[in-house]
Amino acid sequence: MAVGGLLVVAVFVVVAIFAPWLAPYGAGATDFNSLLAHPSSKHLLGTDELGRDVLSRVFWGARASMQVGFLSTMLAMVIAVPVGMVAGYYRGWVDTVIARLTDVLLAFPFLILAVGLAAILGPSLLNATLALGVGAVPGFVRIARGEMLALREEDYVPAAIVNGANDATIIFRHILPNMTSTLLVQATVTIPGAIVGEAVLSFLGLGVQPPTPSWGVMLQDAQSYLAQAPRLAIFPGLAIVFAALAFNVLGDGLRDVLDPRTTR
């Protein structure tokens, strides 16, 4: 099952990267002769209100959506994992301070946070990435801290200390590699949330701005034409669902393989 998820994920990644070559039309290519056209051999999924080919826009949209999904998760990990590890390693007041700071971050529901960031920075793809990244930080902090609490009891830690290793070496060279599988699983679960999150933000006008295509932007455009051409909302939505589902399935499968102790 995980393999199936992996395959679909791979497909999406490929499409995202190679969109310029795979898409039949350019992202902004309009054709005022066929507005809101039904699917045909010329436009496999039809066209939107400006005559743009829906299929192509879905492909192009994959770029923005996947980009935000991956980058925000990576941003979160880069910040959160070291912080979580430090909290778990040193415990004491360091742990308490980090716990409070994470709580502060958690105090802002995700969209409220995005709204705040949009107010300061202005809506954009960058804003979306930042908001999603920051929102994912507490989750990773908790995982990294939990793993650290368990792993620091392993025998190789005192062995390394006795051999003269300093704290940084122990944390990053010895313990970190042992948590990669758990972190990987968490990442595969965070990314679909980020993809959906990007759609939400762009839909609300807080993220990717039109005319740059992203699945969320397409959904927003589709809202005005819901009665006449519901397919404009259906196709990008399906893309989101399949991408997110693929990651979730992959994540579940990875978790089963890498950590058989968790109850399935």
């Binding site: 409070r100 700071l101 709580d103 502060v104 958690l106 105090a107 802002f108 529901p109 995700f110 969209l111 409220i112 709204v115 705040g116 949009a118 107010a119 300061i120 809506p123 679909p192 959906v196 759609a199 939400v200 839909f203 609300l204 006008g205 807080l206 959904l219 589709a222 809202q223 819901l226 009665a227 519901p230 909302a233 259906i234 939505g237 989101i240 669902v241 997110a244 589902l245 979730n248 399935v249 579940d252 968790t262 109850t263």
Partner: protein
Amino acid sequence: MGGFLIRRTGAALVVLVLASMLVFLGVRAIPGDPAIALGAENRDPAVLAAVRHKYMLDRPLPVQYAHWISLAIRGDLGVDQRQLSVAHTIVTRLPITLELALLSIFVATLVGIPAGVIAAVRRGKPSDYAATAVALVGLSVPHFWLGLLMIVWFAVDLHWLPASGYVTMQHPLANLEHMLMPSLVLGAGFAAVLMRQMRSSMLASLGADYVRTARAKGLSELRVVWRHALRNSLITITTVMGLQLGALISGAVITETIFGIAGFGRLTIDAVNQRDYTLIQGVVLVAAVGYVVANLLVDVVYSLLNPRIRIG
């Protein structure tokens, strides 16, 4: 129990203070003159001077913060672009969102918890796989998309339910009509999370030693599951509920936008689109405070339910 609650309240207070500082700094971080931002873009020098005076903008930051906080605590969140009291606007819109949230929680609990229990009890059998698959899909579907589809189907095609708008509780039936789809949409995502959590919590309970003891006592399977396992699992679940409230608030923002409901969530978006900084500030602060307080209440409920905390 007292000790536990004191610690949690203390932590909550610290978080509230830090969060309010973050909000305060956030507004100051907007490029440009804060006076213009806080004064609702009015560039009249007299107005700007009044704004500077009111928010003590020429004083050092900590003084500004203290002043701003003292105003906020007394309920004065300033005025928005249209010279309306921010606090008043928020207070009028909040109950609408609360109604939506409560209905959604109701839907989610009604569906999610039994589904999770059944999936755990019938682990490995077809009903488990089915329920887990449905939950997985529920997690992957952006629920606002679901909302759009439901509008197309139920409102446009079938004309069963209104597509948008809100009617006050004075007309309960109409109110329900308008709230039905939004609460289903918002509740669906929550239900999926709840189902998964419930399932894994029940699996842990059912595998516990005390369940073996209960069976060894000759109790019926129903009693074992219902009284012994479920009671423990529900207590564990309350901690999850608290965290999900944040997602619920976020969800309310989108749901209200799609369904054209003028609630607190919608207010947030409007504020950003209008670049109404005073309003944004007020909204973000209230949302954060509300969330922290709600979590604290969840902690209180949990400490009452769990005997290990209730009685040292």
